[in-house]
Symmetry: C2
Subunit: 216 residues, 2 copies
């Protein structure tokens, strides 16, 4: 943590707060725009419900990390937020700490964890759904990557940083698909009642071997 002067007092800042602050560092935005931005790229790595996001910029403004400018389009209210110098320093201080590792929530995997209480067909369907998920998500990734290569990506000037995150997602989706293909083979060899499935030694050895990269 950097200078004590920049440590916000009052409401605590969450990762979501910093994400909104980061978006304001890139560009001043209306609260609606902020919720849209959070829904796109960032939503893949820090998904948040839109309805809760409207509160964040207010909090940042209350802490002096952002400034709120009330305005209107005709009779419709509109608030545009912009980052303050204090906000920039606070963001930079946060970036200087390494951050928590990924947290994964997968209902599909929970179902597979208990696959022996359903049918093998159910398990295969769940695996297929996982692959479909990866495919669908990857389509967006390809499109974005190509746009950047063509020099026409959103926030093209930020391509270097966006690529690092985009590559992670690319690899993630690819991994899910490859795992799904493998799992389909393995589970396809199960009996109809998965309770009868036993250790597939060859497959297990392959998995353990794959895990060997971190072994000292």
């Amino acid at each position: 943590m950097s200078t004590a002067d920049d440590r916000p007092t009052g409401p605590r800042l969450t990762t979501t707060s910093y994400a909104i602050l980061g978006l304001l560092a890139v560009r001043s935005s209306s609260s609606y725009e902020l919720t849209r931005q959070m829904g796109r790229g960032l939503g893949r790595i820090w998904p948040r419900a839109a309805s809760k996001l409207y509160e964040e910029p207010k909090k940042l403004a209350a802490l002096g990390l952002a400034r709120a400018r009330e305005g209107s389009v005709g009779e419709r209210r509109r608030t545009v937020y912009s980052i303050t110098p204090k906000g920039r320093r606070t963001l930079a201080a946060w970036l200087a700490e390494p951050g928590a590792g990924p947290v994964l929530e997968s209902e599909q995997l929970v179902k597979l964890f208990f696959a022996d209480h359903g049918t093998t067909r159910d398990a295969l369907a769940t695996i297929a759904a996982a692959r479909a998920w990866a495919e669908e998500r990857n389509e967006d990734n390809v499109r974005v990557g190509r746009a950047y290569l063509g020099g026409e990506g959103e926030f093209q000037e930020r391509v270097a940083t966006n690529m690092v995150v985009g590559a992670f997602l690319t690899e993630l989706y690819r991994t899910v698909a490859e795992w799904a293909d493998w799992a389909e083979q393995v589970v396809g060899r199960w009996p109809e009642d998965p309770r009868g499935a036993t250790l597939d030694r060859e497959a297990m050895e392959w998995v353990v071997d794959r895990a060997g990269w971190s072994v000292r």
Copy 2:
């Protein structure tokens, strides 16, 4: 959704509810044991705060999906829950639906998303932290995999299903580590001020090529 008879009325069941129900399908347990089980393997794919977990089995019992047996160890209270036939049917019905795709939350990636508002050194530290995370997590995975190969894994009789989920995690951790190694190379080529980083065309082409698996 299967037979209407088995559709629970009253409190809504969440994925967490089903996970607890699944654990009871494997073995009757005290609420404390349930919270421990949720903290181990399942916590990697469906992390939940222990303090909230004590409510779930109560809910299942209220719905007739589990039965609660009050008891004691000396003067200490203890409640053991076991699944009912209705509970088994409800679990099986849930397993018959494919389930939602993975949801990822990564503070590290959020930081990298805004890396151009920090320093290149910060970004490299964040990448190193991601790799360290993958390493640490993978160590557990290796240990578990070897125990299963040796026939001494926890719930060895469920090795077939556990392997499918374990393989996913193995691949995930490996992917994070490989991505981190790549990202370290790429970011290592950035100028000291990451705002000066520009499109690394060769790297971007590699990423887009890697994403090509799902392209029709």
